[in-house]
Symmetry: C2
Subunit: 592 residues, 2 copies
């Protein structure tokens, strides 16, 4: 069975040596002292390692089952969920007013990674609740917040997002679910929603569905969409649970992975719903939920890669096979461990350098959100809005590829379900699809985010990278291995953007044909920048005589690997982008 150990040391490095949390001046960050964050992360780690991780393969093997309209989660999930509840983990970064602890989002992110790495399917029950809470916080009235949030923060009730219908996913303008206004101000919701993660289960008293539906008078397309709260059980004014609402589970889907999470077909048969936010402006409220969810999915990408990597590393150290070409390294045994072989190293370094880079990117992104929320920093908001599709799309594409590489380290054993490596890949696969398939992320990036605010966030990004390079040019330890490749990669990114701008109006397909490559190019530049930041922090720590020199030397070597071996991908992506729309669009649809 796979093991999992929470990477607390690496997280502490990011929070304190790289982000220098306590010095940022962001409200709430002052209390993030080393000991305090260590205590939280250790506690989360303990729970993840001893309770959640052992249930990961149980969830995969058993899956969820629907019996007489009731969804049953796998053995042990209910008890584990109680522990999450009892620990107050869900409320960590939620308002105290509703029972949360109001810690920064960056702490919620760190804890989230630990939970996702140990058991992604399980964590989704909580994760979707978190998203639903944020939508209610952003769009709900005070009464709605008071009614729904406390029980959701405590996880007595969980939440879901209901967007997709059988005939439409991305193109939500096509949805058919109807909302008929009732005399008491509520609505009757009728329609079918599919792919509803955590749609129903036996771990909470109630499930609060956030449902997109069309109310009369809203017009065509996405303009006519409103957002509704539809509880599984009705809730009275005192917060007491009443009768069953007219919402039911049609079936649980058989999926490639995340079997421990119930992906449901939800049928709404005149179910009572409550409008949340403005009528006909449901997409706006939904996007609040979506944006956080996208960051959470980007996190899933590298968190699964982390879990897979840890096991691949163990296997590479333990399994004896072949001899190092430079001479036996385990002369007492009849073979050397796999880790002596350069191609095994390559795979491990790919994984390690990606995971640590992506963790930095994600934590840094979370800190931008805190800057936005807690400081009202508009530039930070613009930047994270620009980078959200990169975090989601790039990190889940590469994260999945890394779980496949981790599986590859196991050879034939990686293909056997018992070893658990297949599950990491099968689970990670969904992250490339849900919350907007990665092609849609690329489209969002190129078609919307690049041009947002007249291109200000994109310019701010380049400025930031440029300034960093300039400020540190005198640092010889950084220059050749980090700053120069970063500069070159950043130039590739700018050249791609320039090409899009030149083509933009006259040939919009040129940008769209290169959108996915652009997202990857951008992702590599971001990770390159993160590695430069980390290398700087580690060289400073070494210069200051850090007691943990090995950690920092390893960090710098891992970064050098990323810069030398992963960053050259930017040139390939740029070449593809510059080839324009023509090769992509040359065929008539009939000619394929």
């Amino acid at each position: 069975m796979p093991r999992y150990t929470a990477p607390v040391k690496d997280m502490q490095f990011l929070l304190h040596d790289v982000l220098k949390a306590t010095e940022t001046g962001i409200p709430g960050y002052a209390e993030l002292e080393r000991d305090f964050t260590a205590a939280i992360l250790d506690e989360a780690g303990k729970l993840a390692e001893s309770v959640l991780a052992p249930l990961n393969s149980v969830g995969d093997t058993e899956g969820c089952r629907l019996e007489n309209g009731i969804v049953y989660t796998p053995t042990g999930f209910k008890e584990a969920f109680e522990q999450i509840k009892d620990g107050g983990w869900n409320g960590l970064d939620l308002p105290e007013e509703y029972g949360g602890q109001n810690l920064p989002y960056v702490i919620g992110t760190a804890v989230g990674e630990v939970f996702v790495s140990s058991n992604m399917a399980f964590n989704m029950y909580q994760g979707l609740t978190h998203g639903a809470i944020n939508a209610i916080l952003a769009a709900g009235t005070e009464e709605q917040k008071a009614k729904w949030l406390p029980k959701m923060v405590s996880l007595d009730w969980t939440g879901t997002m209901n967007l997709t219908e059988p005939h439409c996913g991305t193109d939500l303008g096509l949805i058919r679910t109807k909302a008929e206004p009732q005399d008491d101000g509520s609505y009757k919701i009728t329609g079918q929603k599919i792919f509803i993660s955590a749609g129903d289960h036996d771990m909470s008293e109630n499930v609060i569905h956030l449902v997109l539906a069309k109310a009369p008078g809203g017009g065509e397309g996405t303009k006519g969409i409103s957002l509704f709260i539809v509880p599984k059980f009705m809730v009275d004014d005192e917060g007491k649970i009443g009768a069953r609402n007219a919402v039911s589970v049609g079936k649980i889907e058989e999926k490639m992975g995340i079997h421990g999470n119930a992906t449901c077909v939800m049928n709404y048969d005149g179910a009572t719903g409550y409008l949340i936010g403005e009528l006909h402006k449901g997409m706006k409220a939904m996007f609040v939920m979506m944006n956080e969810a996208r960051l959470g999915v980007g996190l899933q990408g590298y968190a699964q890669a982390e879990a897979a990597y840890q096991n691949a590393l163990d296997y590479a150290r333990d399994r004896l096979q072949g001899r190092a070409v430079t001479g036996a390294e385990n002369p007492g045994g009849n073979a050397d461990p796999l880790i002596v072989h350069p191609d095994i190293r390559r795979m491990l370094m790919d994984q390690k350098s990606f995971v640590e880079g992506a963790r930095a990117f994600t934590f840094w992104g979370a800190h931008l959100i805190d800057r936005g929320h807690r400081l009202g920093d508009k530039e930070a908001e613009g930047l994270i809005s620009l980078l959200t599709p990169v975090i989601k799309g790039f990190q889940t594409d590469i994260g999945f590829a890394m779980t496949v590489e981790a599986q590859q380290v196991y050879g034939g054993h990686g293909y056997i379900e018992e070893q658990g490596m297949s599950q990491f890949a099968r689970d990670a696969r969904i992250a490339m699809i849900y919350e907007g398939a990665n092609g849609v992320q690329a489209l969002d990036l190129v078609g919307r985010k690049l041009a947002a605010e007249g291109g200000k966030p994109a310019m701010a990004f380049f400025e930031m990278v440029k300034s960093f390079i300039k400020e540190n040019e005198g640092n010889e330890a950084l220059k050749a291995p980090f700053l120069e490749p970063l500069k070159a990669a950043s130039k590739d990114l700018q050249a791609a953007m320039m090409f899009f701008m030149q083509q933009g109006m006259k040939n919009p397909n040129a940008a769209l044909a290169g959108s996915s490559d652009f997202m990857h190019l951008f992702g590599h530049v971001c990770l390159g920048y993160m590695w430069a930041l980390m290398a700087k922090a580690s060289s400073e720590a070494l210069a200051a005589g850090s007691a943990d020199a090995t950690f920092h030397e390893t960090k710098i070597k891992t970064g050098r690997y990323y810069m030398a071996r992963r960053l050259p991908a930017t040139g390939m992506h740029l070449a593809r982008i510059l080839s324009g729309a023509e090769p992509v669009m040359a065929l008539e649809a009939e000619a394929f």
Copy 2:
């Protein structure tokens, strides 16, 4: 349920317009007239489309089961296997002497693709038999051939390859299975073998296991290994089946995919075995089987991508979602089909250009084998020996990636097992692992094949590409879109080889650290070369007034896509290779 249509037209194009089969002068190729090959491929296609493809998801869902020592295949497999037997498909390219039809290997390859695309797990029962037959043909005595081959060619008996043991896969020198010589010349085989594909089943009267084991006196490592025939049921001198041999199935593995094929733990408890080939030289005989098997696995890589692509294409044409950015293309409907979107096109073109390029590479490789076998062409033999790891490693890595892209076209529906797209990816995944994990292929390429015959085959490859470019430089239609990118990519490959040669002796890790990138770089150059060959054939057909202009124009456009959008990967691989061993090997094993 996914559909499958045999790509007969494309195969005919390769056989007749590109390879110009009847003009090659290879014995047996003269009879490969268009009508003749069309008849074979149509017949194979019919069987694949109507019988094998519908069983693909049945095999995935039901899997195999072991009851009281007997392995049962999924519903319908037995009847389908009878049809394969009745059609004489297994003997297509096997000697007439043993009941085959002695057609060229290239025809067996084309038919093999059709069967693999429609049902990979099912086809493995036949595929492994084919490999075992080849090993017996190469290493067996006349008596052994006469005794075992006719029933294997007819598929009354099937074959297996037994190499892996629990503690060793790649490093066969470590195997522990023992062979004790008996007075009658036979051996008693004792040990456990794992991951034995088609290890047992209920579709044939007997299973003929080819087993690697150590007989006394052979010394350490791979030198002491011999190859044995171990039948499931004993066979007397008249070929009659007798008592059960002491070989049994320990269990069937639960795997990520190819559920329809029984992957068995085989226990040999003093089973009777017959030495095949020379004592202590079993590795040599095994490699005959392995080499063909590797080509077959390389074929699986693109054959699964083909099947997945066909369905992704259908879905992209049918599914209405969003509008083309350049204006509605389906104004009568409430949305346009997915195929109008550039990023969907990108994915489809990635798949199409890879599959058609890989098919050309594989058919061309098969024709080299025919040149070797039928003409005694040593240069062809050297070339295919060099390229076998490229066909296996590159095509299965990219083939898997393409099944993932095909799945991505489906969005959320791709993750649902019912749609069948997950199965293509899960099935294709094994091809990167078995018959030597792709890292081992890369090692074989860089550590052995490049230097073979003093580097003659590698030089011959470059010479061939160079001559082709030179001969066609005057052809303006080919020059910019095909010859120039091919030249650039080929230069990258040569630069990488030069780097290995310079580093070779003093730093063997430098070549090994770049081996996987080199394999991919080589693969891209090969596919680029194939696309240039195909583009030439298609422009000639167009110039000659081909009745099927659309086919040839599509072919050229697809090739231009490959050259413009896929070939730039060579630069990235070269940059990684040139960074050498240092970034890869910098960390101490303990520091990870």
